[in-house]
């Protein structure tokens, strides 16, 4: 059994769940609002262990004592229930929940793709300049990044449109047919440097139209772009 934590509207996660089930992989979908409505949480940390017990409103129980592998597609803490708190406490409650989710997902003693980081619940959502730096250190051709004070900070997060996406799942690289095999090792190295169990790496051709360059990456990629080869890697990584 594998757990998939995702938003109700996460088409890529729903697609992966359906296709994995077609392959005979047992999948239990836990939608973010269901998790957010959990009726009981118990998370313990001491020198020797960290545990978690969650009771969901539909009666399901998640326990680190019987931990299943997780495909973690949570991009943010479920806030629907918190809205009832109201006032200035809402922002505080969101911060508390984020800190809590970061801890219990980190503690989960089975495979989690991806484990949370302080920069994102499903992995580190890096700035494009940080991906450019990591990509270069991984040995990949990377589009240059230029920034100055005139760049609006919000638009600085925008990257060039991707033409194709490569995937790394655990140690397996799924390259789209357009990319040369020689990029596989760099993709694997980038995922390792980034600390991601699953990573989508976006490529576009350079100005000369020949060289493929990294233009961005995401710890929560559109899985549908990876097709059946990605599903096979995902099933293997989830131990299913």
């Amino acid at each position: 059994m594998a757990l998939i934590l995702c938003e109700i509207s996460d088409a890529a996660a729903l697609w992966a769940a359906a296709r994995l089930q077609e392959r005979g992989v047992a999948v239990d979908l836990v939608f973010a609002p269901t998790l957010g409505a959990a009726t009981r949480w118990e998370h313990r940390v001491d020198l020797h262990s960290a545990t978690v017990e969650v009771t969901l409103p539909d009666g399901r129980h998640l326990s680190s004592r019987h931990a299943e592998p997780i495909l973690n597609r949570l991009s943010f803490v479920p806030v629907e229930r918190l809205r009832t708190v109201g006032g200035g406490d809402f922002g505080y409650a969101v911060q508390e929940y984020f800190a809590f989710y970061l801890s219990w997902l980190h503690a989960w003693p089975a495979t989690v793709l991806n484990r949370p980081t302080p920069q994102g619940l499903s992995g580190n959502y890096r700035h494009p300049s940080a991906w450019a730096s990591l990509g270069a250190h991984a040995g990949l051709p990377v589009r240059a990044w230029v920034q100055d004070e005139a760049d609006p900070p919000d638009t600085a997060w925008l990257t060039a449109a991707a033409e194709v996406t490569a995937f790394v799942v655990a140690d397996t690289v799924v390259l789209p047919p357009a990319l040369p095999e020689g990029l596989a090792e760099g993709c694997r190295a980038l995922a390792a440097l980034a600390g991601n169990g699953i990573l989508g790496i976006d490529f576009a051709r350079g100005a000369d139209g020949d060289e493929w360059q990294v233009v961005g990456a995401s710890p929560m990629p559109n899985l549908m772009l990876g097709g059946e080869r990605l599903l096979g890697s995902l099933a293997a990584a989830l131990g299913a």
Partner: protein, 322 residues
């Protein structure tokens, strides 16, 4: 060249500036209140960073910057911007400058105290506690729950408990009293963090590179930071740590990717050490002013790549696996 980024008169930044002056190290203050007169431009190409910083007409080649001390306040709250509308060009300039400066510090090969990314663990205490435990430091037994019955059982097991926020927001430590038990059912709205109250001496260890500055804190209140506010008293004194504990502090700091940290320990009567938190932005001036420990000098020397004369250097040791 060293850059000190923040408000010129803010105590930690001012103390590091004084220390650099004493050491004869070349530095510039990127004084946020002068942001209207600053420009920055940088480029990352094939992993190499280049660019320039224009400080009111003086241009600094970013390739010559060896160290950066970051004490930046929220630039949207700068007094110079207070009267301006949200879409004022001066606000856009200030935001754009700070964003570009911040992104450069994340990638620059300079010694940066501290980069933003490694500071993230401090935003979740139980998450950071797991990282701390991996280095052999015991966190206090911790329960985070929405279940009042679990709290009562935890209290029966451990005795006196404290409770505090899970995140870094509203981070005030309080003892769980009987009067709190009466309102325990409210935790169903949001998980609350409870910990066994550990009795012992509070110790703050400032770690700079591989140098430690341990300070023992005697306070009339469980959260010494707020003792004075509540009519209490706190006194500080410089101490030495067992070499193994000092080495563990350095290893923990380095493993979190931090160059400078304030680690909060409690030493029990039995000589056991518990670790509560690693603060990645320690406002050390309070400790230096009360103990004379040369922490600013340590930060200055780290930024400049200079050795600490006669300092206690702690060799990190490999932590025992959990």
């Amino acid at each position: 060249m060293i850059l000190l980024c923040g408000i010129r008169t803010e105590p930690p930044l001012a103390m590091v500036a004084d220390a650099l002056e004493t050491l004869g190290v070349d530095f510039r203050v990127v004084h946020q209140r002068d942001v209207a007169r600053y420009r920055i431009h940088w480029r990352l190409d094939a992993g190499a960073v280049s660019g320039s910083l224009d400080l009111d007409g003086e241009v600094v080649d970013l390739a010559t910057v060896e160290g950066v001390y970051l004490r930046l306040m929220d630039d949207t709250l700068l007094p110079e911007l207070a009267e301006l509308t949200a879409d004022d060009p001066a606000r856009a300039h200030a935001r754009g400058f700070h964003e570009a400066l911040f992104r450069w510090t994340e990638l620059s090969p300079a010694r940066v105290v501290n980069r933003a990314e490694p500071q993230g663990s401090n935003g979740s205490k139980p998450y950071q506690a797991q990282l701390i435990a991996a280095h052999g430091f015991a966190p206090p037994p911790t329960l985070i729950t929405t279940d009042p019955a679990a709290v009562l059982a935890f209290r029966a097991e451990h005795g006196r408990l404290i409770f505090k926020s899970i995140s870094g927001i509203r981070s005030v430590v309080k003892v769980l009293e009987d009067v709190d038990i009466e309102r325990l059912d409210r935790i169903g709205w949001c998980p609350v963090q409870f910990q066994k109250a550990i009795d012992g001496a509070n110790i703050r260890v400032h770690v700079v590179g591989d140098t430690v500055f341990p300070t023992e804190i005697h306070s009339t209140h469980i959260d010494y930071r707020y003792a004075k506010r509540h009519g209490g008293e706190t006194t500080l004194s410089a101490i030495s740590l067992p070499p193994e504990i000092a080495a563990r502090c350095v290893a923990l700091t380095q493993s979190l990717g931090l160059a400078f940290a304030g680690i909060d320990l409690i030493r029990t009567e039995n000589g056991d050490f518990y670790c509560f938190e690693v603060n990645p932005q320690p406002a050390f001036s309070y400790f230096e002013a009360n103990t004379g420990q040369p922490i600013a000098d340590g930060v200055a020397r780290y930024l400049a790549g200079m050795a600490m004369p006669g300092a206690k250097r702690a060799r990190p040791r490999r932590a025992k696996p959990r």
